[in-house]
């Protein structure tokens, strides 16, 4: 999965508009990033990519790049 494909799918999963999310966007600065977006991210990773991040990696992720790095490390 390319960076762009991941970003589009991730943005869709958390309800962000296309282009709103870049690799270095701070998740906490996104207006849609709340507890529901967290859950949506987990479901997206589990269902679409078959990846389970560790709870620590999930909580420590600051940007989409952090999540993608964890996904690639888990593969």
């Amino acid at each position: 999965m390319s960076d762009l494909e991941f970003l589009d799918a991730f943005a869709d999963a958390i309800g962000a508009s296309p282009g709103q999310v870049q690799m270095t966007t701070s998740l906490r600065d996104l207006d849609v990033w709340d507890s529901v977006a967290y859950l949506s991210t987990i479901v997206f990773l589990d269902e679409k990519l078959g990846i389970a991040m560790s709870p620590d990696d999930l909580v420590n992720a600051q940007t989409p790049a952090d999540i993608l790095n964890a996904v690639r490390a888990a593969k």
Partner: protein, 337 residues
């Protein structure tokens, strides 16, 4: 033949009901609609003022002992599971031994393990019976976790309920029983479900009771229960399938060999997701959380009692019981009815 089995289960819920309408008045309708759509919990049962978890456990035990005409003198093990004890000292199980008029030769102690405590307690009762240390065990759960949640915590307050339960564990009369247990712990996740100032590591002070808002507008102090819901959800969907696979693998059984899967009842969202992920049909599980809330360590025995009442636990059926949560810890057992 297995060393022990479950021969009866009863439960008692908190008598007060907190409705969706009441919470909407407190937190706003939009916020509570969001919680409802995420949790599926429409109402929760809370213990009345002054009622402790041990009172709920006591009520459940009295119901069970009367219903099954149990000779109290025959009980030689009382395990009480709670995270909201009457006192830190003495152990609440000792008080329950006296209240329930159990014999003084009855061993009595508490297990403090929150959501996963029921399976742990069953494993201890089973092991003590198998070792010949006890012959007939009363396993109680009783918690008032609603007392630990800040009244203005809009994430936790709407999902937490209070309950107690009683389970009789003894050698099976005609087959069945516990076929195996699988227990586990990951203390690295302790920080995700915690009451930071609740013991002796961090002492209470004038500052620790001051509630502060979090990023989503919930208020809580360091003395209240805190949960990172996403981290716990991540832990659950990772750990539960692995544990079931491991337990069934040890027993040379497959998912199809299990007649009923009963889980801790955190909320409907997690349960629906787990059931879908595990490819379990609705007829092979039971959910009882929407009207009572997450009753912590009592949730599993409560849903077991409900499944029994619904006729889902037929004689000889293989029932997988699994609980998970604070610790982080988890436990699963395969029980043949």
């Amino acid at each position: 033949m297995a060393a022990s089995t479950i021969t009866g289960v009863a439960y008692a819920l908190g008598t007060e009901t907190v409705s969706q309408e009441q919470l909407s008045e407190r937190f706003g309708e939009a916020a509570m609609q969001k919680v409802l759509s995420g949790s599926g919990i429409r109402s929760r049962r809370i213990a009345a003022e002054g009622v402790c978890g041990s009172d709920l456990a006591f009520d459940a035990a009295e119901t069970l002992l009367a219903r099954q005409a149990v000779d109290r003198q025959s009980i030689d093990l009382l395990i009480h599971c709670t995270q909201t004890p009457d006192y830190l000292m003495p152990t609440t199980a000792c008080l329950l031994q006296e209240r329930l008029k159990l014999p003084t030769r009855c061993a009595a102690f508490d297990i403090n393990l929150g959501c996963s405590q029921y399976v742990y307690a069953l494993s201890v009762a089973h092991s003590m019976i198998a070792a010949g240390v006890a012959r007939r065990a009363l396993v109680l759960t009783g918690d008032t976790m609603s007392r630990t949640v800040n009244e203005l915590d809009r994430a936790l307050m709407p999902i937490i309920g209070d309950a107690g339960s009683a389970t009789l564990v003894e050698p099976p009369a005609d087959g069945g029983g516990f076929l195996g247990f699988e227990l586990g712990t990951d203390g690295s996740g302790a920080k995700y479900l915690i009451m930071p100032v609740s013991g002796f590591r961090q002492r209470r002070s004038a500052q620790t009771c001051i509630a502060e808002p979090d990023s989503e507008g919930s208020l809580r102090s360091a003395e209240n229960m805190y949960m990172h819901g996403a981290a716990v959800f991540q832990f659950v969907i990772t750990t539960v399938p692995k544990t079931i696979q491991s337990l069934l693998g040890r027993l040379n059984l497959a998912m199809e060999d299990v007649d009923l899967f009963l889980f801790h009842q955190p909320n409907k969202f997690i349960l629906d997701y787990l059931i879908k992920k595990l490819k379990i049909g609705p007829e092979k599980t039971h959910i009882f959380v929407e009207e009572i809330g997450n009753t912590s360590g009592s949730a599993l025995p409560v849903v077991l009692a409900e499944a029994m009442a619904a006729g889902k636990v037929k004689p000889g059926a293989r029932v997988l019981l699994m609980s998970f949560g604070v610790g982080l810890s988890w436990g699963a057992t395969l029980w043949q009815a």
